[in-house]
């Protein structure tokens, strides 16, 4: 079963510039695991040293943040779309470049 995974602009350099890939899996965990198997360079951007999803990475099943579902155990159907959404922020601090 293949599920469409949307790759955000900052990470497309690791997927051959594809903005979406189709990956097998029945849960978010399986899908991301298979995504890492295909595109190993994504791992350091999505997971921390302890193997947990980084807090700066948001994963959506369609329009729902998986944090408010079953997190990585969230079930996924073939018609669902999984989106990787980076946290983006800016600001002022004392030190400027």
């Amino acid at each position: 079963m293949g599920v469409k995974v949307i790759i955000p602009t900052p990470l497309r350099q690791y997927t051959g510039k594809s903005d979406s890939v189709v990956v097998e899996g029945r849960t978010v965990e399986e899908i991301l695991g298979n995504l890492m198997s295909q595109y190993g360079d994504l791992r350091k951007h999505l997971y921390n040293d302890k193997g947990n999803l980084r807090s700066f990475v948001n994963i959506y099943r369609n329009d729902e943040d998986i944090r408010y579902l079953e997190r990585e155990k969230t079930a996924v159907k073939e018609t669902d779309i999984v989106s990787i959404v980076p946290s983006i922020a800016g600001g002022i601090s004392d030190k400027l470049w």
């Binding site: 900052p10 951007h45 959506y60 980076p86 946290s87 983006i88 600001g91």
Partner: protein, 166 residues
Amino acid sequence: MRIRSRSGVGSSAKMAFEIKQQDVERIHRHGVECYPSECCGFLLGREENGRRVVMEVAPIQNAWQTSEHNPYEIRPEDSTRNRSLVDPKDYLRIDREARQKGMDIISFYHSHPDHPARPSEFDRQHAVPFMIYVILAVEKGVPGELTAWLLSDDGAQFLSEPLRIA
């Protein structure tokens, strides 16, 4: 066509970043509307013939104090006056809309109220790769310098990007 180059801490030899004057003015208006808070948004466009061309400005609400999920350190003195945050739902929506129009999110812009248009340490620590960061200085409610930056491959610094205003 005016070409501006900013020396910053390093200069990128990468592709030029082009934006129309009317889109610069759109960013200016957003910065003024939000002052003294930071404004933020995305620039949508494409890569064409070795250039990144902005085709649309997508202003969004600064969600630093409203987003359900804020993964950044929040100090007592932090607010929208010195921080800007994209609500992931806005990123999702705008990315979908961009792809439907055959475009990509190619840049994140935000303003620096009463501060220079140069990346801060906060900007550097939390920058994502490959995304052009456009910064607008807004001094006492008046839009000033507009600059563009790209995080170096090792994440150690921002490199200035040539910004062409057509």
